[in-house]
Symmetry: C2
Subunit: 209 residues, 2 copies
Protein backbone atom coordinates (compact mmCIF):
# COMPACT_ATOMS: atom_id res chain seq x y z
CA UNK A 1 0.00 0.00 0.00
CA UNK A 2 1.21 3.49 -0.73
CA UNK A 3 1.31 5.78 2.30
CA UNK A 4 -0.51 9.12 2.29
CA UNK A 5 1.52 11.79 0.59
CA UNK A 6 3.19 14.27 2.94
CA UNK A 7 2.36 17.95 3.13
CA UNK A 8 4.53 20.58 1.49
CA UNK A 9 4.89 23.50 3.90
CA UNK A 10 6.17 26.76 2.45
CA UNK A 11 7.44 29.14 5.09
CA UNK A 12 8.22 32.61 3.80
CA UNK A 13 7.95 36.34 4.47
CA UNK A 14 9.72 39.65 3.86
CA UNK A 15 13.50 39.56 4.13
CA UNK A 16 14.74 40.44 7.59
CA UNK A 17 11.60 39.19 9.30
CA UNK A 18 13.46 36.35 11.04
CA UNK A 19 12.47 33.27 9.01
CA UNK A 20 15.74 31.46 9.75
CA UNK A 21 15.48 31.95 13.51
CA UNK A 22 11.89 30.73 13.67
CA UNK A 23 12.70 27.78 11.41
CA UNK A 24 15.64 26.78 13.66
CA UNK A 25 13.31 26.92 16.69
CA UNK A 26 10.73 24.73 14.91
CA UNK A 27 13.38 22.11 14.13
CA UNK A 28 14.85 22.20 17.65
CA UNK A 29 12.07 20.13 19.15
CA UNK A 30 10.49 16.87 18.14
CA UNK A 31 8.87 17.07 14.74
CA UNK A 32 7.68 14.86 11.95
CA UNK A 33 8.85 16.80 8.95
CA UNK A 34 11.94 17.13 6.82
CA UNK A 35 13.80 20.30 6.04
CA UNK A 36 14.57 20.72 2.37
CA UNK A 37 18.17 21.77 1.81
CA UNK A 38 18.58 24.52 -0.81
CA UNK A 39 20.96 24.43 -3.76
CA UNK A 40 23.26 27.36 -4.46
CA UNK A 41 26.07 28.48 -6.74
CA UNK A 42 27.65 30.71 -4.11
CA UNK A 43 31.03 29.68 -2.67
CA UNK A 44 31.07 27.25 0.23
CA UNK A 45 32.11 29.03 3.45
CA UNK A 46 34.40 27.53 6.11
CA UNK A 47 32.37 25.21 8.33
CA UNK A 48 29.54 24.75 5.83
CA UNK A 49 28.73 21.19 4.84
CA UNK A 50 27.64 20.24 1.33
CA UNK A 51 24.23 18.58 1.51
CA UNK A 52 23.52 19.97 4.97
CA UNK A 53 23.77 23.75 4.77
CA UNK A 54 23.39 23.83 1.00
CA UNK A 55 24.01 21.69 -2.02
CA UNK A 56 26.96 23.57 -3.51
CA UNK A 57 26.97 23.43 -7.30
CA UNK A 58 28.58 25.24 -10.20
CA UNK A 59 26.65 27.73 -12.28
CA UNK A 60 26.62 25.25 -15.17
CA UNK A 61 25.23 22.44 -13.02
CA UNK A 62 22.53 24.74 -11.60
CA UNK A 63 21.47 26.00 -15.03
CA UNK A 64 21.35 22.42 -16.29
CA UNK A 65 18.90 21.63 -13.44
CA UNK A 66 16.76 24.63 -14.39
CA UNK A 67 16.67 23.62 -18.08
CA UNK A 68 15.75 20.05 -17.13
CA UNK A 69 12.83 21.34 -15.02
CA UNK A 70 14.36 19.89 -11.86
CA UNK A 71 14.04 23.01 -9.67
CA UNK A 72 10.83 23.53 -7.71
CA UNK A 73 11.75 27.21 -7.37
CA UNK A 74 14.84 29.32 -7.80
CA UNK A 75 16.01 32.92 -7.83
CA UNK A 76 19.19 34.84 -8.50
CA UNK A 77 20.64 37.15 -5.84
CA UNK A 78 23.82 39.20 -6.33
CA UNK A 79 25.00 36.96 -9.14
CA UNK A 80 24.31 33.63 -7.44
CA UNK A 81 21.50 31.14 -7.84
CA UNK A 82 19.55 29.80 -4.88
CA UNK A 83 16.77 27.25 -5.21
CA UNK A 84 14.98 24.09 -4.16
CA UNK A 85 15.73 20.85 -6.03
CA UNK A 86 12.51 19.04 -6.93
CA UNK A 87 13.84 15.51 -6.44
CA UNK A 88 14.29 15.53 -2.66
CA UNK A 89 10.94 17.25 -2.16
CA UNK A 90 9.05 14.72 -4.30
CA UNK A 91 10.75 11.67 -2.85
CA UNK A 92 10.11 12.81 0.71
CA UNK A 93 6.46 13.68 0.03
CA UNK A 94 5.96 10.33 -1.73
CA UNK A 95 7.38 8.59 1.33
CA UNK A 96 4.53 10.18 3.33
CA UNK A 97 6.69 12.71 5.11
CA UNK A 98 6.04 16.47 5.28
CA UNK A 99 8.59 18.77 3.70
CA UNK A 100 9.36 22.18 5.15
CA UNK A 101 10.69 24.88 2.81
CA UNK A 102 12.03 28.16 4.16
CA UNK A 103 12.29 30.39 1.11
CA UNK A 104 12.07 33.97 -0.12
CA UNK A 105 8.78 35.47 -1.22
CA UNK A 106 9.57 35.30 -4.95
CA UNK A 107 10.33 31.57 -4.61
CA UNK A 108 7.12 31.00 -2.68
CA UNK A 109 5.12 32.48 -5.57
CA UNK A 110 6.73 29.95 -7.94
CA UNK A 111 5.79 27.07 -5.62
CA UNK A 112 2.24 28.41 -5.38
CA UNK A 113 1.88 28.05 -9.15
CA UNK A 114 3.31 24.54 -9.26
CA UNK A 115 1.90 23.09 -6.02
CA UNK A 116 -1.31 24.98 -5.19
CA UNK A 117 -2.26 22.56 -2.40
CA UNK A 118 0.92 23.23 -0.45
CA UNK A 119 0.46 25.04 2.88
CA UNK A 120 1.68 28.64 2.68
CA UNK A 121 2.69 30.33 5.92
CA UNK A 122 3.66 34.01 5.89
CA UNK A 123 5.86 35.27 8.70
CA UNK A 124 4.93 38.90 9.32
CA UNK A 125 6.98 41.51 11.17
CA UNK A 126 5.63 42.44 14.58
CA UNK A 127 5.40 46.11 13.72
CA UNK A 128 2.29 45.33 11.67
CA UNK A 129 0.60 44.72 14.97
CA UNK A 130 2.27 47.72 16.58
CA UNK A 131 1.14 49.78 13.64
CA UNK A 132 -2.37 48.68 14.30
CA UNK A 133 -2.17 49.72 17.94
CA UNK A 134 -0.55 52.97 16.95
CA UNK A 135 -3.21 53.89 14.45
CA UNK A 136 -5.85 53.43 17.08
CA UNK A 137 -4.21 56.18 19.14
CA UNK A 138 -4.38 58.94 16.59
CA UNK A 139 -2.11 61.92 16.29
CA UNK A 140 0.97 60.51 18.05
CA UNK A 141 2.77 60.16 14.67
CA UNK A 142 3.12 62.74 11.94
CA UNK A 143 0.97 62.18 8.89
CA UNK A 144 4.14 61.44 6.84
CA UNK A 145 5.39 58.83 9.29
CA UNK A 146 2.03 57.11 9.33
CA UNK A 147 1.93 57.21 5.56
CA UNK A 148 5.41 55.68 5.31
CA UNK A 149 4.38 52.83 7.52
CA UNK A 150 1.16 52.37 5.63
CA UNK A 151 3.00 52.09 2.31
CA UNK A 152 5.33 49.43 3.71
CA UNK A 153 2.53 47.56 5.41
CA UNK A 154 0.44 47.71 2.27
CA UNK A 155 3.24 46.10 0.25
CA UNK A 156 3.52 43.34 2.82
CA UNK A 157 -0.22 42.78 2.86
CA UNK A 158 -0.29 42.49 -0.92
CA UNK A 159 2.19 39.61 -0.51
CA UNK A 160 0.24 38.01 2.32
CA UNK A 161 -2.98 37.47 0.44
CA UNK A 162 -1.70 34.47 -1.57
CA UNK A 163 -0.74 32.66 1.63
CA UNK A 164 -2.97 30.51 3.80
CA UNK A 165 -1.74 31.66 7.22
CA UNK A 166 -0.09 34.72 8.70
CA UNK A 167 2.06 34.30 11.80
CA UNK A 168 3.33 37.45 13.51
CA UNK A 169 6.93 37.12 14.65
CA UNK A 170 6.67 38.99 17.93
CA UNK A 171 8.18 36.11 19.94
CA UNK A 172 10.27 33.42 18.25
CA UNK A 173 9.08 30.63 20.54
CA UNK A 174 5.42 31.59 20.11
CA UNK A 175 5.73 31.94 16.34
CA UNK A 176 7.41 28.51 16.08
CA UNK A 177 4.67 26.91 18.18
CA UNK A 178 1.99 28.47 16.00
CA UNK A 179 3.61 27.14 12.83
CA UNK A 180 3.67 23.64 14.34
CA UNK A 181 0.00 23.94 15.28
CA UNK A 182 -0.86 25.05 11.76
CA UNK A 183 0.86 21.96 10.35
CA UNK A 184 -0.97 19.67 12.78
CA UNK A 185 -4.30 21.33 11.97
CA UNK A 186 -3.69 21.08 8.21
CA UNK A 187 -3.39 17.31 8.53
CA UNK A 188 -7.00 17.24 9.76
CA UNK A 189 -8.43 19.42 6.92
CA UNK A 190 -11.52 17.70 5.59
CA UNK A 191 -10.30 17.80 1.97
CA UNK A 192 -7.32 15.64 2.88
CA UNK A 193 -9.19 13.23 5.13
CA UNK A 194 -12.28 12.72 2.96
CA UNK A 195 -10.17 12.05 -0.11
CA UNK A 196 -8.28 9.35 1.79
CA UNK A 197 -11.45 7.50 2.72
CA UNK A 198 -13.00 7.96 -0.71
CA UNK A 199 -10.03 6.23 -2.31
CA UNK A 200 -10.44 3.27 -0.01
CA UNK A 201 -14.12 2.95 -0.85
CA UNK A 202 -13.52 3.11 -4.54
CA UNK A 203 -10.94 0.36 -4.30
CA UNK A 204 -13.20 -1.70 -2.06
CA UNK A 205 -16.17 -1.46 -4.41
CA UNK A 206 -14.14 -3.06 -7.14
CA UNK A 207 -13.24 -5.88 -4.75
CA UNK A 208 -16.82 -6.49 -3.68
CA UNK A 209 -18.31 -6.68 -7.15
CA UNK B 1 -12.22 50.74 19.43
CA UNK B 2 -14.12 47.55 18.77
CA UNK B 3 -12.16 44.38 19.38
CA UNK B 4 -11.86 41.69 16.70
CA UNK B 5 -14.86 39.44 16.67
CA UNK B 6 -14.32 36.02 18.23
CA UNK B 7 -14.46 32.74 16.32
CA UNK B 8 -17.47 30.49 16.47
CA UNK B 9 -16.27 26.90 16.83
CA UNK B 10 -18.80 24.18 16.08
CA UNK B 11 -17.77 20.81 17.48
CA UNK B 12 -19.96 17.94 16.33
CA UNK B 13 -19.99 14.36 15.09
CA UNK B 14 -22.11 11.19 15.11
CA UNK B 15 -23.88 10.41 18.39
CA UNK B 16 -21.84 8.12 20.62
CA UNK B 17 -18.52 9.31 19.23
CA UNK B 18 -17.51 10.92 22.54
CA UNK B 19 -18.04 14.65 21.90
CA UNK B 20 -18.79 15.40 25.57
CA UNK B 21 -15.66 13.66 26.83
CA UNK B 22 -13.38 15.44 24.38
CA UNK B 23 -15.08 18.79 25.08
CA UNK B 24 -14.58 18.31 28.84
CA UNK B 25 -10.89 17.59 28.22
CA UNK B 26 -10.53 20.72 26.09
CA UNK B 27 -12.04 22.86 28.84
CA UNK B 28 -9.93 21.24 31.57
CA UNK B 29 -6.79 23.15 30.66
CA UNK B 30 -6.15 26.81 30.06
CA UNK B 31 -8.13 28.13 27.15
CA UNK B 32 -9.37 31.40 25.74
CA UNK B 33 -12.85 30.43 24.67
CA UNK B 34 -16.29 30.27 26.18
CA UNK B 35 -18.57 27.29 26.25
CA UNK B 36 -22.08 28.05 25.09
CA UNK B 37 -24.67 26.53 27.45
CA UNK B 38 -27.59 24.88 25.65
CA UNK B 39 -31.27 25.50 26.35
CA UNK B 40 -33.64 22.59 26.88
CA UNK B 41 -37.26 21.79 27.79
CA UNK B 42 -36.37 18.52 29.46
CA UNK B 43 -36.76 18.25 33.25
CA UNK B 44 -33.90 19.45 35.44
CA UNK B 45 -32.16 16.46 37.09
CA UNK B 46 -30.86 16.43 40.67
CA UNK B 47 -27.50 18.18 40.81
CA UNK B 48 -27.97 20.06 37.53
CA UNK B 49 -27.64 23.83 37.70
CA UNK B 50 -29.78 26.16 35.57
CA UNK B 51 -27.48 28.32 33.43
CA UNK B 52 -24.53 25.98 33.88
CA UNK B 53 -25.58 22.54 32.66
CA UNK B 54 -28.49 23.88 30.65
CA UNK B 55 -30.89 26.76 30.58
CA UNK B 56 -34.05 24.96 31.70
CA UNK B 57 -37.16 26.44 30.08
CA UNK B 58 -40.77 25.47 29.49
CA UNK B 59 -41.95 24.31 26.10
CA UNK B 60 -43.84 27.60 25.69
CA UNK B 61 -40.76 29.68 26.49
CA UNK B 62 -38.62 27.65 24.07
CA UNK B 63 -41.15 27.92 21.23
CA UNK B 64 -41.39 31.64 21.85
CA UNK B 65 -37.59 31.88 21.36
CA UNK B 66 -37.85 29.89 18.12
CA UNK B 67 -40.63 32.14 16.79
CA UNK B 68 -38.66 35.25 17.70
CA UNK B 69 -35.64 33.93 15.77
CA UNK B 70 -33.55 33.83 18.93
CA UNK B 71 -32.20 30.28 18.54
CA UNK B 72 -28.99 29.76 16.56
CA UNK B 73 -29.94 26.09 16.17
CA UNK B 74 -32.35 23.67 17.79
CA UNK B 75 -33.71 20.17 17.46
CA UNK B 76 -36.32 17.99 19.11
CA UNK B 77 -35.34 14.65 20.70
CA UNK B 78 -37.85 12.30 22.34
CA UNK B 79 -40.35 15.09 22.85
CA UNK B 80 -37.91 17.68 24.21
CA UNK B 81 -36.26 20.67 22.61
CA UNK B 82 -32.52 21.26 22.78
CA UNK B 83 -30.81 24.27 21.24
CA UNK B 84 -28.37 27.16 21.35
CA UNK B 85 -29.65 30.63 22.30
CA UNK B 86 -28.35 33.24 19.90
CA UNK B 87 -27.92 36.03 22.45
CA UNK B 88 -25.03 34.59 24.48
CA UNK B 89 -23.19 33.53 21.32
CA UNK B 90 -23.46 36.96 19.71
CA UNK B 91 -22.55 38.90 22.84
CA UNK B 92 -19.50 36.73 23.46
CA UNK B 93 -18.30 36.91 19.85
CA UNK B 94 -18.82 40.69 19.83
CA UNK B 95 -16.69 40.92 22.98
CA UNK B 96 -13.86 39.33 20.95
CA UNK B 97 -14.04 35.94 22.64
CA UNK B 98 -14.31 32.60 20.84
CA UNK B 99 -17.43 30.55 21.45
CA UNK B 100 -17.33 26.77 21.53
CA UNK B 101 -20.52 24.85 20.64
CA UNK B 102 -20.75 21.11 21.19
CA UNK B 103 -23.87 20.10 19.28
CA UNK B 104 -25.49 17.30 17.29
CA UNK B 105 -24.94 16.97 13.56
CA UNK B 106 -28.41 18.28 12.62
CA UNK B 107 -27.79 21.41 14.70
CA UNK B 108 -24.38 21.90 13.11
CA UNK B 109 -25.98 21.96 9.67
CA UNK B 110 -28.29 24.79 10.81
CA UNK B 111 -25.32 26.80 12.09
CA UNK B 112 -23.50 26.20 8.80
CA UNK B 113 -26.36 27.90 6.95
CA UNK B 114 -26.50 30.89 9.31
CA UNK B 115 -22.78 31.35 10.08
CA UNK B 116 -20.78 29.96 7.15
CA UNK B 117 -17.49 31.39 8.45
CA UNK B 118 -17.71 29.47 11.71
CA UNK B 119 -15.08 26.74 12.17
CA UNK B 120 -16.63 23.27 11.83
CA UNK B 121 -14.82 20.38 13.49
CA UNK B 122 -16.10 16.84 12.99
CA UNK B 123 -15.19 14.25 15.62
CA UNK B 124 -14.94 10.90 13.85
CA UNK B 125 -15.04 7.47 15.48
CA UNK B 126 -11.70 5.68 15.57
CA UNK B 127 -13.03 2.67 13.72
CA UNK B 128 -12.89 4.71 10.52
CA UNK B 129 -9.16 4.46 10.82
CA UNK B 130 -9.32 0.83 11.86
CA UNK B 131 -11.54 0.20 8.88
CA UNK B 132 -8.91 1.67 6.67
CA UNK B 133 -6.21 -0.59 8.10
CA UNK B 134 -8.53 -3.54 7.88
CA UNK B 135 -9.35 -2.96 4.25
CA UNK B 136 -5.68 -2.97 3.43
CA UNK B 137 -5.39 -6.53 4.78
CA UNK B 138 -7.96 -8.13 2.54
CA UNK B 139 -9.99 -11.23 3.23
CA UNK B 140 -9.89 -11.10 7.04
CA UNK B 141 -13.54 -9.94 7.12
CA UNK B 142 -16.50 -11.44 5.27
CA UNK B 143 -17.74 -9.43 2.33
CA UNK B 144 -20.96 -8.67 4.26
CA UNK B 145 -19.10 -7.40 7.30
CA UNK B 146 -16.94 -5.16 5.16
CA UNK B 147 -20.03 -3.93 3.34
CA UNK B 148 -21.81 -3.14 6.63
CA UNK B 149 -18.88 -1.08 7.78
CA UNK B 150 -18.64 0.65 4.44
CA UNK B 151 -22.31 1.66 4.55
CA UNK B 152 -21.87 3.14 8.02
CA UNK B 153 -18.61 4.85 7.13
CA UNK B 154 -20.11 6.21 3.95
CA UNK B 155 -22.94 7.82 5.93
CA UNK B 156 -20.42 9.40 8.25
CA UNK B 157 -18.32 10.65 5.38
CA UNK B 158 -21.35 12.26 3.74
CA UNK B 159 -21.72 14.26 6.97
CA UNK B 160 -18.03 15.12 7.17
CA UNK B 161 -17.78 16.92 3.88
CA UNK B 162 -19.51 20.10 5.08
CA UNK B 163 -17.02 20.45 7.93
CA UNK B 164 -13.61 22.09 7.84
CA UNK B 165 -11.66 19.60 9.96
CA UNK B 166 -11.95 15.95 10.90
CA UNK B 167 -10.44 14.80 14.19
CA UNK B 168 -10.34 11.06 14.89
CA UNK B 169 -11.24 10.24 18.49
CA UNK B 170 -8.79 7.41 19.07
CA UNK B 171 -7.35 9.04 22.21
CA UNK B 172 -9.30 11.69 24.14
CA UNK B 173 -6.20 13.67 25.13
CA UNK B 174 -4.83 13.68 21.59
CA UNK B 175 -8.17 14.62 20.06
CA UNK B 176 -8.59 17.51 22.54
CA UNK B 177 -5.07 18.78 21.77
CA UNK B 178 -5.77 18.66 18.04
CA UNK B 179 -8.97 20.68 18.44
CA UNK B 180 -7.05 23.32 20.38
CA UNK B 181 -4.38 23.45 17.67
CA UNK B 182 -7.07 23.85 15.01
CA UNK B 183 -8.52 26.83 16.88
CA UNK B 184 -5.08 28.44 17.26
CA UNK B 185 -4.33 27.87 13.57
CA UNK B 186 -7.70 29.30 12.50
CA UNK B 187 -6.83 32.57 14.21
CA UNK B 188 -3.90 32.93 11.80
CA UNK B 189 -5.94 32.23 8.61
CA UNK B 190 -5.05 34.88 6.09
CA UNK B 191 -8.70 35.81 5.44
CA UNK B 192 -9.09 36.87 9.06
CA UNK B 193 -5.77 38.66 9.36
CA UNK B 194 -5.81 40.50 6.04
CA UNK B 195 -9.33 41.77 6.64
CA UNK B 196 -8.23 43.17 9.97
CA UNK B 197 -5.42 45.20 8.44
CA UNK B 198 -7.51 46.28 5.48
CA UNK B 199 -10.06 47.87 7.79
CA UNK B 200 -7.34 49.82 9.51
CA UNK B 201 -6.01 51.15 6.21
CA UNK B 202 -9.41 52.21 5.02
CA UNK B 203 -10.00 54.11 8.21
CA UNK B 204 -6.55 55.69 8.08
CA UNK B 205 -6.96 56.89 4.49
CA UNK B 206 -9.95 58.93 5.54
CA UNK B 207 -7.85 60.53 8.26
CA UNK B 208 -4.97 61.38 5.94
CA UNK B 209 -7.06 63.05 3.22
Amino acid sequence: MTKDRGLLIVFSGPSGVGKGTVRAKIFEGKNDFSYSVSMTTRAQRPGEVDGKDYFFRTREQFEEKIRAGLMLEYAEYVGNYYGTPLEYVNETLDAGKDVFLEIEVQGALQVKEKVPDAVFVFLAPPDLRELRDRLTRRGTDSAEAIEGRLVKAREEISLMKDYDYVVVNDEVEKAAELVKKIIAAEHTRVERVVEKYREIFEKEEVTLL
